[in-house]
Symmetry: C2
DNA sequence: ATCTGTTATGATAGCGCTAACAGTCCCAAT
DNA sequence: ATTGGGACTGTTAGCGCTATCATAACAGAT
């Protein structure tokens, strides 16, 4: 009723196109994939028929027959902070033109969820997998190791990669930030971060941070965690909490830029003397925040580069080392005093 | 000769599990899918063998045989603004437990890219498609209409849906905001937005906005567009530009909250009298910004609800109408004067 | 005229799974 | 004893493609 004569409501197959154009299915297949020799006349005939019918090839059948799937699984913990979209941009950018297509799965920082996402993805037999982090359930680890495809674990390099790792050393990043803070003369340092037992990278940064503090004979004077809600707002609240509980604090180290920005706005509202009486630093280098009245000290996590490199490895660029380390740059901004 | 007992590097199939557990492939398949009657003893045997081998089913073959694919294609223009991740959250949330799995594709606001993403997705024969917007290339339109699966176009309802539409009326949203602004007594209104010829929703909002202005005998006193870069920063710059070019401006209407927030920060820096001498409004209701010193007037785009409803439709919740409209709530915040 | 070699097309046999049906076994009900 | 039916397991035949080999047609080289 909706459609004119020729089309049944059945979904089209190669056979339909082959009948419509008077050649074998094989030839149609060759035309549509641009593979093998087909005369110009035949090619034109087939393309026209295919277009006229509105044929969409069935990749499921194609993949099964050819044992080739042009998909790359990408497993990340979240889409709602600013960091992973940028990694995705790097991946997409690089995959563009290789014929490979990224497919995103989100684990919400839950190892079991990650395992099931990985399982689900592997069951589609992708050509490669890109996964955030080096920590996975044992089952996930085994599946990945057995999959027989390139695996790239991204963001972090502090640990043993299954196949390849591309990222930065978060422990080192934490140490480096601590060194800068201590060198700037701050002594009563507090940490404010997410309450996420499974954010291993934030944890490693804090470890590195405390390690360096320890070597300088310092310990954190306070710490505060949150979960959920608007990061900017939480940053304000946490900062208020820390400063009222531990008024002598002279530096606030945040586990990410969003809460750091919230804290910064709070400090400015309260007319605190930033960065002289109190300093702040975050992590990530989110460009998003560039318009703030005052620039938060942070460390770039090399997200774009990580995405690019991971995609390169998946798409077959030869690599000599299992681990590709990027070096985050510390940006002092306006919230660490320089003396 | 070909394979010793267990470990070649070949990828496992049902046959391997079937041999390892001494039952037919069919029985293994039944166990792994939890379908049909299998004795507890057999089930245990099979599960153990499967686990021991590290078997991951091949969904490609499964899908081809069963003509069922548990995938839902989701096509959105971008991941890097705050709006689509929230829609995704609504979708994932609702799909959870239905056995359906979202697969995301990004079109970058490019119609041709959108078409190719749609084509790519349809070739995997998903159970449904969710697509942002009502505007597509003719080819994409035909493919979707022919696909024989539920199609839900989201975000916008000002137009003709292929199958279902779930969203808000952006034209109406624009009108409503204009009414509020005019009612508050602002008269010299400027628009600041993205330079995106293909952001049809932003365009519709502006149309509705100008329409209402027109009815009140007003026209925009200035307009400014941008593309790329940090939205917050751009908001500042554009606002500075407008206010220096058209100093009599008494209201700034932004096409999104991020640039609006940038503008707001600029006004506060300049100690302008917000909302009395100058008012501001954005669009989207991004929770992200909750921590700002002053609350920007905005309109919630019902992102979460849209995602949920779209997923419900895909997963088979009966619907009576082709179009599900949500009503965005205008939040006055602190940047529109109430008199 | 015969033998290559090249280009264009078709026929056949699966890829790894599941739908649909066909048993088989066992026990309760006749 | 016979029957019927439920519980369980196996057999067969594809799903819609593509790899591979076979075939056909014909150019030029021998």
């Amino acid at each position: 009723m909706t459609k004119p004569a020729s089309d049944q409501n059945h979904t089209l197959t190669l056979r339909d196109v082959s009948e419509a154009s008077g050649v074998s299915e094989m030839t149609v297949s060759r035309v549509l994939r641009n593979r093998g020799d087909v005369s110009a006349a035949t090619r034109a005939k087939v393309l026209e028929a295919s277009r006229a019918l509105g044929y969409v090839p069935n990749k499921i059948a194609g993949a099964l027959a050819s044992q080739r799937v042009n998909l790359v699984g990408v497993v990340i913990p979240s889409l709602s902070n600013m960091v992973f979209p940028e990694v995705m941009t790097g991946i997409s950018e690089t995959l563009e033109g290789t014929g490979l297509q990224p497919v995103v799965g989100v684990s919400n920082y839950l190892p079991d969820k990650e395992e099931s996402v990985i399982y689900e993805m592997l069951s589609w037999r992708p050509s490669g997998m890109i996964i955030a982090g080096l920590e996975h359930t044992p089952a996930a680890h085994v599946m990945l190791a057995r999959a027989g495809i390139p695996i790239v674990e991204i963001m972090d390099i502090d640990g043993d990669p299954i196949d390849h790792a591309v990222g930065i050393s978060h422990r080192r990043a934490g140490r480096q930030m601590a060194e800068a803070i201590v060198a700037a003369g701050y002594r009563r340092i507090a940490f404010l971060g997410t309450q996420m037992p499974n954010d291993f990278r934030a944890k490693k940064r804090l470890e590195g941070f405390e390690e360096t503090l320890g070597r300088a004979g310092l310990t954190l004077v306070d710490r505060e965690f949150y979960s959920g809600g608007s990061a900017l707002l939480k940053g304000r609240e946490m900062t208020a909490a820390v400063l009222s509980r531990t008024p002598e604090t002279d530096f606030l180290y945040y586990s990410n830029d969003m809460i750091g920005a919230g804290g910064l706005l709070y400090c400015l509202d309260e007319s605190l003397d930033v960065p002289n009486k109190i300093g702040l630093a975050g992590f990530n280098g989110v460009e998003l925040l560039d318009g703030l009245p005052c620039k938060l000290a942070t460390m770039d996590a090399c997200r774009l580069e990580i995405g690019r490199r991971a995609a390169e490895i998946i798409s077959g660029t030869p690599v000599t080392t299992k681990v590709s380390e990027f070096t985050p740059k510390l940006q002092f901004g306006d919230t660490i005093r320089t003396r």
